[in-house]
Symmetry: C2
Subunit: 658 residues, 2 copies
Amino acid sequence: MLGKKKLLVGGLSALVVGALLAGCPPKKELKTEVGTAEVAQKVYVPPGKYDEFYAFLSGGFSGQVSVYGLPSGRLIKIIKVFSQDPETGYGYTPETKPMLMTSHGFVPWDDSHHPELSQTDGVPDGRWLFINANNVPRIARIDLSTFETTEIIEIPNSAGNHASPFITPDSKYVTAATRFSVPIPQKDVPISSYAENFKGTLSFIKANEPGKMDVAFQILVPGYDYDLAHCGKGPSYGWCFFTSYNTEQAYTLLEINASKNDKDYIAAVNWKRAEECIAQGKYQEIPATYYHNYYDEKKHMAFSEVKKSVKVIIPKDCPGVMYYLPTPKSPHGVDVSPDGEYIIGGGKLATVIPIHSFSKMLKAIEQKAFEKEVDGIPVLKYDAVLHCEVPKPCLGPLHTEFDGKGFAYTSCFVSSEVVKYDYKQCKVVDRAPTYYSIGHLMIPGGDSAKPWGKYLLAMNKITKDRYLPTGPELFQSAQLYDITGEKMQLLLDFATIGEPHYAQGIPVDIIMKNVKKIYPLAENEHPYAVKAEKDARVERKGNEVHVYMTMIRSHFVPDNIEGIKVGDTVYFHLTNLEQDWDIPHGFAVKGSEDAEILVMPGETKTLVWKPKAPGVYPFYCTDFCSALHQEMQGYVRVSPAGSNVPLKYYTGTPTAQK
Amino acid sequence: MLGKKKLLVGGLSALVVGALLAGCPPKKELKTEVGTAEVAQKVYVPPGKYDEFYAFLSGGFSGQVSVYGLPSGRLIKIIKVFSQDPETGYGYTPETKPMLMTSHGFVPWDDSHHPELSQTDGVPDGRWLFINANNVPRIARIDLSTFETTEIIEIPNSAGNHASPFITPDSKYVTAATRFSVPIPQKDVPISSYAENFKGTLSFIKANEPGKMDVAFQILVPGYDYDLAHCGKGPSYGWCFFTSYNTEQAYTLLEINASKNDKDYIAAVNWKRAEECIAQGKYQEIPATYYHNYYDEKKHMAFSEVKKSVKVIIPKDCPGVMYYLPTPKSPHGVDVSPDGEYIIGGGKLATVIPIHSFSKMLKAIEQKAFEKEVDGIPVLKYDAVLHCEVPKPCLGPLHTEFDGKGFAYTSCFVSSEVVKYDYKQCKVVDRAPTYYSIGHLMIPGGDSAKPWGKYLLAMNKITKDRYLPTGPELFQSAQLYDITGEKMQLLLDFATIGEPHYAQGIPVDIIMKNVKKIYPLAENEHPYAVKAEKDARVERKGNEVHVYMTMIRSHFVPDNIEGIKVGDTVYFHLTNLEQDWDIPHGFAVKGSEDAEILVMPGETKTLVWKPKAPGVYPFYCTDFCSALHQEMQGYVRVSPAGSNVPLKYYTGTPTAQK
């Protein structure tokens, strides 16, 4: 993919330059070692059987989360998070619009990067999935009993929320950090005053109580680009680690100017210490406007609240809260081994994979083995914290996960491969090509204290000729490997929605036991819900008309409405009375700004309609619901403004029709 | 799916009622006859190999088209048609918003039902794919060299454009018809005046010249619900056939009131005769406002024109233009055999599958074997046109396709199965269960003069327990069958985006040879394109600021901009200078109402930004494009309104930074 174009390769090593200029590997037809039949069976899930793992892949520029089954690679759901969804009306209906409100106004879509499962004792527990928005910094909580987004917290004092939302082993916090440093708080200053005025923040967000996400505290840090993070576990519980690049503090042409230093930093943050400083008042309360949006599952409605300030720790006022670990070169991933001892940096321009030791780090701190200090943050000596450098592993190492058997797997963007190595012995034991340009990889549980292993999923940035061509725009590509043997075995290519920057995998049993199949009608507290056809009605309030409508196979009540006028705003409040799984109904009326919506069993949703011209307009069910689905329709009569046609509504019976 | 709820089953036969009340088949784990290994191999496409067929599935309530590879069932693309796409900015950017304009204003999404490939000599030729919008009646053309929507025509005098867009064998016309009858033209009348005031239209849309879609003519017909269509070929070339239901002309509680008549009609339209009447002036020119939107691929921009009238034929003024064929009972599908002789109705409440004979129909017309006339339209005698009724085929027959070997395959919604029969002998030879509630089915080329056969795809309405549960909302389900043998063999379940109402399949070679990989930069005629970095610039025009920006690995030019003021509207016109396949770049700036966009190689797109507060805002590439993708970023400085900070922009070099 780094094809034939001239590339600006300023400060890069000769090795990387060579690779950058070498272009993509040519298309290969892969031979599998054991023959197609055996491989085919490994990924084939016969009709009626279930996959073994749920995989949650971020949508990147789609702003959503895609749910796949593994090993089949089948897409089974797109979870609506940071983007309007024209299918269900998410982000369009009055009930869901508040979910996408921010201090910058309504943001119709965003860039979602890193899904992260909640954990208990360092092991994914299947309760929630968190994911970040990068462009307008936010973190969302997805409830894995409904696979719906139930909460979004905005991150103030941030730009480019990339190192997010990585979780502590007890789900107490998820992280957020500025990929782009900016004036904090924002102010109108020359861009050239970057070194003086631009700062970063590392944020810790309360995550363990649904409906109560908030920014616990932020740490104000030097103006580097903070990239990725992972939190410690076991012995390193209480710490989180963040990569940074652009320690050069460039603000233009970063591809050259931010690639000069041989080492950048991993920031090691002692959040337990930060909690102490907060308790001791060693922070500044800074005014900051940010939104907290949450979805009330019983009211079937989202609400926003605006928060006004945030606690910020200045490192020099809270000694011991963080240290920098020098790490070659422009590191991307930072990944902690299941036992919590090893911290692996993915130096994307490095020719080695550096592995730091947490116990050596503690010792170096104790011995004050500092190289220097930056803004009150000690920089530890590289040799004092390094466990080893994996020699000549690959080109462009990015991100690492673990199989729980003593091996680490690092994705290598430039050389398009996965390298497997013994991270204690620092010895490469296997490598497998990927097609093409792998970004992150995922092993189920592979970033936790207890990886389930078995599969490795490569998420590749370039697809080119891997699937049937679909014009200039192509889906991206995932590749599934069997990692149960000594050698990785490529099983399957499958295309992905958006750009999966990262993923999480979890055995299906953990999720399945909690999944809800319907919304209980009896618990529906939507203010415009009706729970029986007899209560369906139409009410006028000035120019507003509220239609309390029910849906059940195969009719609406009411299905004939007259007395609507041009100039009215009509609110169709639709309650799906079904209480069986997988019986949604839809509603569409011609010319609605909101087009049409889907309503799940037991749910209430609202479609807003401002009819523009007199006439008789049909409405209909948009989700094929029964043999008589096509008959599930009705009419609204719209009269001119000022007309005296009275409000009238009914569902016909043979009697009523006369 | 027709579960435990009480159902209103007014006029239905006892047989159907029994099935309606019986509920879903229980979940079964299917045994394949030949063992998993062989079946697995039949659908397994090894990494690096291609699928055999492109399959285009409508998105239903998603408003889009999904592209799958068969036999693997892998989703490889979502084509943006009738819905805003938060991933690419389709329907949000100034370039693409005109595509979604209608006489009802901007419609952010719709309900897409029936993809239809262009044909030459009755065989799909891979040039274009057409698809209808049901809610706000429209037809779109998708260019299969780019997989992008290039044209949308609105259908006036219509509501619920369902019997659409079925094509003539030479691609001269695609059809459109009113699923919901309405006053034509629209007027404010009581709904109870349905029989008097409500009419349908059958429309023929010019399809064979890109950029020139238009309504050739409409036929005003009685106020029934027109459901589906297919056009004749071979001997029946010059005719199209439309099903209708609700010949009862009910307007409320249709599930009872429109299910009373034992037979409804298939409308047989002689469009050659209609052309004669148009040529002879036997039509009325009716005022009608409707939009024609087209996308100029070189300008990278969509344009709308508003049309003002339409030619309408009244059947009694054009004798011979159409006939009704009585057809049991509430027919859904109408499908013409590859040889053009047999017309199969899918009477969804019928207990037989009626097969009409085209040659018998011609003879009946000649002999005036009429039962009666409706609004000047002769109703032919059922026995005079019937070839046969396939006896006791299944419950709820809906839709039929052909394998080219003398067999028809009909989907049966109520009994959840596909039935295979010899349509000349009228003899069922095989049946296969589907899970659950099949709607339409698709055989590659199965609705054309030359089916490719091999596979049958069942598109099922109910998914329930076929995949891992994902909460109350589930994807729908497709099932792939091998139809090369005497018995259909179920191969694979895969989940689908939205609700696929219909699909088209075509061998990959036909499409692949024409697919474009980039947009040639030299041909880019976007008024704000820049084709070299030296031409990048920023221009102020009052409160409008136009940024002519380039993107190439791994930087923007300019990447630092100052002198923007609060109150400005900033237009980022982004040109991707890459000319390699699969190197898109993205652009996001914090707080933009349009969030972020993707730009393909050689393309120009515009993102509109209205900064709300002073500060310095980062922008960045949202599509991982190189090893230095994370470095592809820049800053915009925003000063207060009235500030005197001058306009300034650059991309730094080591010199420029000083």
